[in-house]
């Protein structure tokens, strides 16, 4: 179809006319689908008409044209302009209209993400991508393909707090497995940056135990970080996998992270100098995995581990004894470590500075405040919601034909009570 100024204008008028009510929008949607190829082939000339239509009212038409412009790679010179126009669109667009064509919206946002990384200015996309996610999400439990891009941009821009805000939503629906893996991996890294090791551990655990039919590079990297975070946070590492890990992961993950597992083993001995020597020896490997910072944190957490083990044996202890048993150099340093741990809430103790004695106390949470009541109550509500979801999932799983066929095959051939011919295979 030959394009001329007339068809551009006609398209513009059509878009403007049909953007008012929902039936009109459906009509417009159909027509735009027909025009799609035309728009794509002549993207450049259509770009000029973007100024004539308003993104907040005519989001659907704007989106089509914008997406057509982004199909071709954007040249360097126009990248800046492009970013500005996309950001403006994301801020202004109307939610119902873009939900009619979610994949186009997502591809536009992905383009934005690429451009921003190319230009080395990740900060510019943090805000827009957050708005985009909130607009396209069906509910706050839904994982979109934009989540991992957003988290990656937050990581590059070091905006850990905003990224952490998104991680607090519980996710129940996932479209693409790859999105889920990336989301958890980046999410774990953001939590490490924000010093929330518990949540990081949970996210890495999700990656490692997620269902996968073949090995997955993301899972391998995540497993290495999982070992390190487990050593930092829990001060121990168990090499056995829970039973819901896929068999592919169970068999292969250990092969890829051999040196990390050895690190965990030498950590368990409690000998700091040995650990340091091991780290020094395998420095290169840790650097290649970009994990050297974490490994150093592991080493410093060794002191904490030793001190914590002391709380389980002694009621009071002098600072010199602590320094000796925990292999810390001086009593002064030991005092510093203990003080730090008391402040972080990892142990409960009092330091008597006059005679240098430390008394280890019990957790003095008496559970007799109204705040505790509210806390427990909100946890109970959360777990009730989750229990309902689990029950529906369980029921739907019991009706799953794949499950029924496998179970039917392995059923016992004869019932105990009757010796009639029980069919040994369920024909579905």
């Amino acid at each position: 179809m030959i394009l001329n100024a007339n068809s551009v204008d006609s398209l513009v008028t059509e878009i403007q006319a049909l953007s008012s009510s929902s039936q009109d929008l459906l009509e417009l949607h159909k027509r735009l689908k027909d025009y799609e190829d035309v728009i794509r082939s002549q993207a450049a000339s259509f770009a000029s008409c973007l100024t004539q239509i308003d993104p907040s009212i005519h989001s659907l038409g704007y989106l089509y044209i914008l997406e057509a412009c982004t199909v071709a790679p954007v040249p360097e010179a126009q990248a800046n302009e492009f970013i500005i126009s996309v950001v403006r669109f994301i801020d202004a667009c109307s939610v119902e209209q873009i939900r009619l064509v979610p994949d186009k919206f997502i591809s536009v946002c992905k383009r934005l993400h690429e451009q921003v990384i190319n230009l080395n200015a990740p900060m510019r996309a943090v805000g827009p991508l957050l708005t985009a996610i909130r607009k396209i999400q069906a509910s706050s439990e839904h994982l979109t393909p934009l989540h991992p891009d957003f988290l990656q941009v937050c990581l590059l821009a070091k905006c850990y707090k905003i990224g952490y805000g998104i991680l607090e939503d519980d996710i129940y629906e996932v479209d693409q497995p790859r999105d889920f893996f990336l989301y958890c991996y980046y999410g774990g890294m953001i939590c490490i940056g924000h010093k929330r090791f518990a949540k990081a551990l949970e996210l890495f655990h999700n990656v490692v135990t997620a269902p996968m039919s073949t090995m997955n590079a993301i899972a391998v990297e995540a497993y290495k970080k999982y070992i390190l975070v487990s050593l930092i946070h829990l001060r121990q590492f168990s090499a056995s996998f829970p039973k819901y890990t896929s068999s592919a992961a169970q068999r292969n993950l250990k092969n890829f992270s051999q040196s990390y597992i050895e690190l965990a083993n030498s950590y368990n001995t409690g000998n700091i100098s040995e650990l340091k020597a091991f780290v020094q020896a395998n420095r290169e490997k840790f650097e290649n995995g970009n994990n050297l910072g974490l490994v150093n944190q592991v080493v410093s957490s060794m002191y904490k581990r030793n001190i914590q083990r002391l709380t389980q044996t002694y009621l009071t202890l002098s600072l010199e004894d602590i320094a000796n048993t925990a292999q810390i150099d001086t009593a002064k340093e030991a005092e510093m470590h203990v003080l730090q741990m008391i402040e972080d809430g990892e142990i409960y103790a009092t330091i008597n500075q006059k005679d240098g004695m430390v008394r280890f106390l019990e957790d003095h949470e008496q559970y007799n405040t109204c705040e505790m009541i509210e806390h427990i109550d909100s946890s109970i509500q959360r777990i009730m919601r989750m229990s309902k979801k689990l029950k529906t999932m369980d029921e739907s799983m019991s009706c799953d034909p794949l499950y029924l066929s496998k179970v039917g095959r392995e059923r016992q051939r004869f019932d105990f009570d009757d010796f009639d011919n029980v069919p040994s295979k369920l024909n579905l």
Binding site: S247, N368, M372, D377, S379, I380, M393, V407, G408
Partner: protein, 302 residues
């Protein structure tokens, strides 16, 4: 059927009588033919008790045969029954008769008069068998007969009397038991717990509504819409003073700690329930989707 009696007698009614009458009525109703002609057949019987001075106490009752053709009670049966009861309860006299229905009727006066040869002033106890949820009181009325002059003719008419309910310890236990009807098979622990909690829930609901009424009333009184009534205010304040007397901090701590313990236990219960559901779900997913998880073992069909 006039207003209130002027005889000055106080009546005390035992719950056994009410249970007897209602039982009689229910039995007759359930044994009636499905295409029964009489929609609500009335039942009749005698009430017996003691009269001491001005107090009339109705202890017990028994049933009587009623001949609807002659509109009279079976006399010989009544005599026999009376003698039997006299042997067991020598103190009790026939105080009157009972019946079921919505209101006293003209034909009842004939029965009433016929009983006057046994007791010169018989009582008529009437039970209304239909359940009316809006009505808070018992559907039982006691009527006496009085001579009134109407249209120049002296006539006996029924007048309503007030009564109180009097219970012996044994009666209280049985009434309590009937009020908390438990499921017949004893139920599992779950149904018993549910019944118990439902009882508590309805009790709390009633308490809540009553307090709300009082609150509304006091508000209106404060705004001046209703004239201030000191006696009621005194009652309310005495009620308030009976509330928990301990306000110390130690009590508060212990109370909150117990509250938290209970919440923690229910949290733990939910947790366990969730874990078991998840465990089953994981097993099913492993069977369905993971190729090599079985390793030759046989799975139970759950």
């Amino acid at each position: 059927m006039a207003s209130s009696s002027s005889s000055g007698l106080t009546f005390k009614l035992h719950p056994l009588v009410i249970v007897n009458i209602s039982d009689h009525h229910t039995r007759v109703k359930s044994q009636a033919q499905p295409d029964g002609t009489s929609s609500a057949s009335r039942v009749f019987g005698c009430v017996i008790g003691v009269q001491r001075g001005r107090t009339v106490e109705i202890f017990n009752s028994f049933e009587l045969l009623y001949d609807s053709s002659t509109h009279s009670l079976d006399r010989s049966f009544l005599q026999k029954k009376q003698e039997l009861y006299k042997k067991v309860f020598p103190n009790f006299y026939i105080l009157g008769w009972y019946s079921t229905g919505a209101d006293a009727e003209e034909s009842d006066m004939l029965l009433h008069k016929s009983l006057m040869d046994i007791n010169e002033n018989p009582l008529y106890v009437l039970l209304h068998p239909l359940i009316n949820h809006a009505q808070k009181d018992l559907p039982v009325t006691i009527y006496e007969s009085e001579m009134h002059v109407i249209d120049g003719i002296p006539q006996l008419i029924f007048v309503r009397s007030s009564y109180t309910i009097e219970t012996v310890e044994a009666e209280r236990i049985s009434v309590d038991h009937v009020a908390h009807l438990k499921p017949s098979d004893g139920g599992s622990a779950a149904t018993q717990l549910a019944a118990h909690l439902t009882g508590i829930h309805s009790a709390i609901k009633m308490l809540n509504s009553r307090i709300r009424v009082l609150h509304h009333y006091l508000n209106a009184m404060q705004k001046g819409e209703i004239p201030v009534e000191n006696s009621l205010l005194r009652q309310v304040s005495s009620l308030l003073r009976r509330l928990p007397a301990i306000e110390s901090e130690k009590f508060q701590d212990d109370f909150l700690m117990e509250y938290n313990d209970t919440l923690l236990i229910s949290y733990l219960a939910m947790f366990t329930d969730c874990s078991s559901t998840m465990n089953e779900l994981v097993d099913k997913i492993n069977i369905a989707y993971d190729k090599h998880s079985r390793k030759g073992g046989r799975a139970m069909f759950i």
